[in-house]
Symmetry: C2
Subunit: 215 residues, 2 copies
């Protein structure tokens, strides 16, 4: 049953394995990715995958690397270049929430190196002083990492009951820990929390940092 013709001539390779893994991650979720299911989808044995991939960490890193790309920016405004760069990664995470989990777990992935490098180029173009560039770049990276973790967590808790409003209501409830009166700020923010746009909010955070850099 599991022979090469089932694979329709596509030879097993790291690329094809990573493609299949991404398909599972996107459609079935993070927990669904097992070597057994992956092997079944590829019509091969579980052990065969280990010929092309070192272990699950390697597989996940390759999947992230395939999904995060950092296009060369042609924005005239260097601020805008950084914004576009970070929004691009943000959008990739929105499309593939499991990337957020992975980046938060393993920030030293090659993909993050590309982002860090591009941020650095943008900061140079902005004219940020050399001595501040490292702090600035890591502040921007932290903002991205935080948003990534946030998005991945949201995606994990959404499938349970698809309704966004009730999920957010539960966030307020969990955060308030059964004593709403003790959390006036959170109560006050329940409205904005319900209505806000994650992407716009992420951008607002980036803008705060970019503004701070101008002082």
């Amino acid at each position: 049953m599991a022979n090469k013709s089932d694979r329709r001539g596509r030879a097993l390779s790291k690329v094809s394995i990573v493609e299949a893994a991404i398909a599972i991650l996107d459609t079935e979720g993070e927990d669904a990715l097992t070597f057994r299911l992956l092997a079944a989808r590829l019509a091969t044995g579980a052990g065969a995958i280990y010929w092309h991939v070192a272990d699950k960490g390697d597989l996940l890193a390759a999947a992230v690397d395939a999904v995060i790309m950092v296009p060369a920016s042609d924005a005239a405004d260097p601020d805008e270049a950084i914004r576009l760069l970070l929004l691009g990664v943000f959008d990739a995470i929105e499309a593939h929430p499991w990337v957020g989990t992975q980046l938060a777990r393993e920030p030293w992935q090659p993909a993050m190196g590309r982002v860090f490098e591009a941020i650095g180029a943008g900061l140079g173009a902005m004219g940020v002083a050399e001595t501040r560039q490292f702090d600035a770049a890591s502040a921007l990276l932290n903002a991205l990492l935080g948003a990534a973790a946030h998005q991945a967590a949201a995606a994990r808790s959404l499938p349970a009951d698809a309704d966004r409003a009730t999920v957010l209501a539960r966030v307020v409830a969990r955060w308030s820990g059964g004593d709403p009166a003790a959390y006036p700020f959170i109560q006050r923010m329940a409205g904005p929390l319900r209505d806000h746009d994650d992407r716009a909010q992420f951008l607002a955070g980036i803008d705060l940092i970019l503004t701070g850099l101008k002082i």
Copy 2:
């Protein structure tokens, strides 16, 4: 062998279970925490733990909650109150790196609610406009989440070879992905990366946001 006297009269309770879990997490690391080891340490059966704790997620959440505390601030300067608050959490994560992993994975923990509330109070005291408070609070929370993920990852990759310098050299190598010439910014930052203080850098990131808020 596993009877109550081995437990020295300490009745099994959620508190004692969480204490034992924290001890394991702190000394043996995140991967070492299993229900089997925990049961052995508590001189009981694995199943007994489930009488007091819903599942592993519940256990981890309780452990985080026990370790993250948000003291009421008495700083005169509201900026300073926010700084101290965030640094307090940062220090807790430094002392217990597994908290970073957990917060990044589950940002809707009660502990994060307390942090968010305290940030909100500080922003109010700073006189930040109502309409910006939500964006500002989540930017600060993202910065904390990003630093938490960063620290947890650092702690995970350090034990392998205790030397900090070689670990950081490897970060530069991994980020540069075998082609240093393509990553001039990262090469230029190799020095600062080696010499930097995580805590100071985190604070610099927070200050960028706080500065941005004043414009």
